[in-house]
Symmetry: C2
Subunit: 330 residues, 2 copies
């Protein structure tokens, strides 16, 4: 069915009919603004991510269900990186003529499935037509007591660098998708990443990380953000960067330098954090119930350089410029 | 200068350097999420609007400064329609290759000029490139004590219908812009609308409106939203709908039926609200310091129909379907 047959208000009704009531939501979808009741004594954490067809996703290899999940996941990951508990979100959609009602239904189902896993509620947003591709904009709210919020700016020389899960799978998955592959571990990791929400909350509430960020631009670039805002450098051991068995087996098929892919490929949505040396022993215990482990991959240093020690023992200084969203592909 | 010369982080730095500190903002632009401190005892009001080039605006006749103002204004208007006090906002921008740094600078200046007028702070957002047109997504937060928040659903038979300012200017301005006109009252009203923030707060805190909405889809369509959610009908006197002297003089040049244009043209961003009959006398006094007046244009009725009485005394039942964002122009 074409969207024009149900119209904008039909679409909003179709989405809102699937939304379940959420704690603290006083006015949900359907008024000029939503109203939510903040928890007394907590800060409100707010993040937005916009995903554009042809830039962030390709409908040739993304199904709507997983696109819905990922659109929310990237925001959940940002709140997780602050140590926050996600609460509610807004969804704005600009929809081109070719998109069907069934597509939007599946997209909504996917998004709300992930929302349900994390107890977050859709409270509002905007819908309009697009003359070019599909545009998805999500704003997510989280909460946390001020003393448990983790920033990017607290890393100090001597702190150890940790990262959760495995790194490089998403970049490998994207490359495989471009080559026609449609399934497998890496493809799943790219299309349906797992935001480390529980891990972020547990780490924040334990007061252990001195700085934290999620790996979206790439391990080197995101560590670069911590270094810049903390006024420090770092020394990473490339061989310690955690790679999945799948990555170890397949990365060399598509990447001339798998270690570089792990260092620069983005969208893993793992947590990258720094810990004072004396508290490193607590990390494994803290994360025990989170569904993910973290490993130590390096150390914060004085200065401002990111040095990576390769498998051959050679050191390289890595650019901290990060992924430049305006240069890529234009 | 082209955006690729400064990159994504250069752009973010350029925008954030213009942002002044705001009350209650604990972490601003530059971390994974922003952190704000809600005012105890208040509800948080949240609204999002997305504006797309070629759908909501045309760069052939919109300058970046006023585009920046309008992108925030449409959100301020939503918070105003709840009786809320606007506090902070997020801006997500998808920027096509042809947009210059100077364009973004002027856009930011315009947006922040309106933000300054209302004491709201830019706290975060997202930037990326676009392969088609410019996409602007703004999420605005407001606050209000729960008892002063005004919903769409409280209109009761016998209540009177009021609207602020004048109606129809924006639709007239858009039509004039399409015909090559570039200045004048109506054009200004379309390109740089004035959200009725102070009026909304004053009305809400006086506890006078039983329902309120802003006029974005058109007077008839937006009143239709109130009627639907309140489960009532209304009877409007077309001759009472306030029109500017400019509209009275020029509307007949471009519209075969100026009264219809006033009834259905959108984007006036005036406040449309209902008031119990016994409290109508308070409205003028409440709005005295707001910079805008409101006039009575009709009455809420039992049933579910919107009846409009024309200049000739004839009655017409108006469709409440509203502007369908997926049918227009496709």
């Amino acid at each position: 069915m074409k969207l024009r047959e149900i119209g904008e208000f039909g679409l909003i009704g179709r989405i809102s009919s699937r939304v379940v009531d959420g704690a603290g939501v006083r006015i949900g979808i359907g008024d000029d603004a939503a109203a939510v009741e903040p928890t007394p004594g907590r800060w409100l954490l707010v993040t937005s991510d916009m995903l554009l067809e042809g830039v962030h996703f390709d409908l040739a290899y993304t199904d709507p269900y997983r696109l819905g999940r990922k659109s929310l996941a990237v925001n959940l990951s940002d709140v997780a990186a602050m140590g926050g508990e996600p609460r509610h979100f807004l969804l704005s959609l600009a929809v081109p003529p070719g998109i069907t009602v069934e597509f939007i239904d599946r997209f909504t189902e996917g998004m709300l499935s992930l929302a349900g896993e994390h107890g977050v509620t859709l409270v509002g947003g905007d819908t309009c037509r697009s003359r070019s591709g599909l545009v998805i904009s999500v704003t997510l709210h989280g909460e946390q007591e001020p003393e448990f919020v983790v920033r990017r700016s607290g890393a100090r020389p001597g702190d150890r660098v940790f990262v959760t899960g495995t790194i490089g799978d998403s970049a490998l998955g994207l490359e495989l998708l471009r080559r026609g592959e449609r399934q497998g571990w890496a493809v799943d990791r790219h299309l349906d990443p797992t935001p480390r929400v529980r891990a972020g909350i547990l780490l924040g509430r334990a007061g252990v990380p001195s700085a934290m960020i999620d790996v979206s631009d790439g391990l080197a670039a995101d560590l670069g953000h911590i270094l810049e805002l903390s006024g420090v450098g770092a020394r990473l051991d490339s061989g310690l960067i955690p790679r999945s068995p799948w990555f170890r087996e397949h990365a060399h098929d598509v990447a001339p330098d798998p270690a570089l892919l792990a260092l620069t490929g983005g969208e893993d949505y793992e947590l990258l954090f720094t810990v004072p040396a004396g508290r490193c022993g607590e990390v494994a215990h803290i994360l025990a119930g989170s569904g993910v482990a973290a490993v130590e991959i390096g150390e914060i240093t004085a200065g401002d350089k990111l040095v990576v020690v390769g498998a051959d023992g050679q050191e390289a200084v890595v650019s901290q410029g990060g992924y430049n969203h305006f240069c890529d592909g234009q």
